[in-house]
Amino acid sequence: MSEVTNPASIVEEYLEPGELWTRRAFMVAASAAGIGYAAALGYPVYRYLASPSEMALSATAVTEVTLKDAEKLPAGSALMFKFGTAPAMLIHHQDGRWIALSAVCSHLGCTVQYEPQADRIHCACHGGVYDPYTGANVSGPPPKPLKLFKTSVNDTGVLVSRG
């Protein structure tokens, strides 16, 4: 430990006559300036490249969507729609129930499809199968169920909202 506590006296100690900065002080200042410079250049570039993710972020804030004329969807068929930025599906079951769920497979993100004849939701990528009423992962690799949304049907359309 040095006994010198006054920074001014350190400077005096190492300075040659006629010099204003010690080598160390210069290096510290130069590095700080360099980092500041790099940040000033890097920040706009980062924000520029991040623009689409920022836009998507505001789109994911969507909490509900009205599907116009979806109430005319025949029983036993499904309709794909975009909820925020991700695909989702609305199923009108044979028993009259309306089910809306995320159409993004919880395994590796493929878009799943409703198969009315087998009464299941199937992912063609790796054979994942989900229950078309609850979204539960029934077989195959999916680790989690499909996210289920709330639905309410009126005579102008179907309102889908986050649970």
């Binding site: 924000r47 520029y48 991040a50 920022e54």
Partner: protein, 364 residues
């Protein structure tokens, strides 16, 4: 093992395969002449730096730019929707203009220092080819936003080859992708600007830099007169390199200042039926040839098409003579040829400055 021994053994492993020690020893012994005109040595490096900025900002623009029918809309999006998109675009346009300026300063300093003489003829020739490519870069890039100004500038620019007898119209149609400037034009200019030109420019630039390394910096005639022992040099590493990098930082600061304080404008979307806007004129680096064509067209017995052909011939002849100067002024012993080349250079500068000034003076 300590960190030091690990570093040393990694260094040895790489060095054995790449020969870094040899390269470092070589770099230590490289020197650069130091004299009153040394300042001009930096302009090639500045041009190179601005080209690197072009590559970097160009790739960033490429992230959102869409050629073809959507060209204007995508540039509008870059300029007004994407964060700092205006700044990236402005930096790309400004660095293009500053690079053109730096290349011209570099070319004239090489010319007047007679750095094209033996054994540097290929350096001069490749430099002239790089200037030619840079102009095509500028011309093709100018169209990409597809706003009013770029539309008419390209329309006029591609009308010039039409004056060439017999094949003129075919050449112009090939460049345009049809008889008029359309989205087909912007699509092929895009391919030219981001694929064809870089593929030609970068290897040629590498050749140019290899020659600079091979022959070293040329001495201006005033230094040639001195006895070899009276000439001064500085080591390249680190003295010259440090100054070179300082010039790069200065260039970057100038660029940042220009790009942010005077952001590059985006005009209205082009409309093939709208009349040309008043005051429309070529970019400053195309002003001189454009004005020369216009002035020759005003000579009584050269009016109309013959004036344009005469203009193109004269301008082409000037460039050919300029390019071939190393083969005329090839000997430092010949004072007469050296003087002729010198006056030819002064004439060229006078013609460029005068026609550019007249061009700006007579903008309607």
């Amino acid at each position: 093992m300590t960190t030091k021994t690990i570093t040393a053994s990694v260094y040895d492993w790489v060095d054995e395969r790449l020969g870094i020690t040899e390269l470092a020893a070589f770099a230590r012994h490289k020197t650069v002449p130091a004299h009153a005109q040394s300042f001009w040595y930096y302009w090639g490096g500045i041009s190179l730096f601005l080209f690197l900025v072009q590559c970097f900002t160009g790739v960033l623009l490429l992230v959102y730019y869409r050629p073809g029918a959507e060209a204007f809309e995508s540039v509008r999006q870059i300029t007004f929707v994407m964060n700092f998109g205006w700044l990236i675009r402005s930096a790309h346009s400004w660095s293009a203009n500053l690079m053109m300026f730096a290349i011209l300063v570099h070319m004239f300093s090489v010319y007047f220092m007679k750095a094209y003489r033996k054994p540097r003829e290929f350096g001069w020739l490749s430099g002239m080819a790089l200037l030619g490519f840079a102009s095509v870069f500028g011309f093709s890039g100018y169209l990409l936003p597809m706003d009013e100004l770029s539309y008419f500038a390209t329309k006029v620019g591609l009308q010039i080859p039409v004056a060439i007898p017999f094949v003129g119209t075919a050449i112009a149609n090939m460049l345009r992708g049809g008889p008029d400037v359309t989205e087909f034009t912007v699509q092929r200019f895009f391919a030219l600007h981001v694929v064809v030109l870089p593929a030609l420019f970068i290897p040629l630039l590498a050749f140019h830099l290899f020659l600079v390394q091979k022959h070293g910096n040329a001495l201006p005639p005033s230094e040639e007169l001195k006895e070899p022992e009276d000439r001064k040099t500085v080591p390249f590493m680190p003295t010259f390199l440090r100054k070179d990098l300082a010039m790069w930082i200065i260039s970057l600061n100038v660029l940042a200042l220009m790009a942010s304080v005077f952001p590059w404008a985006l005009g209205k979307q082009y409309d093939a039926l709208a009349p040309a806007p008043t005051g429309i004129h070529p970019e400053w680096y195309f002003m001189s040839p454009f004005e020369m064509l216009k002035l020759l067209g005003m000579v009584k017995w050269l009016q109309g098409e013959s004036g344009e052909i005469a203009g193109i011939l004269l301008f082409t002849l000037g460039i050919v003579l300029w390019t071939l100067i190393p083969f005329y002024d090839n000997n430092k012993e010949s004072g007469r040829r050296g003087r002729v080349a010198h006056y030819f250079g002064l004439l060229a500068i006078f013609a460029l400055v005068a026609t550019t000034a007249i061009g700006y003076w007579t903008i309607r």
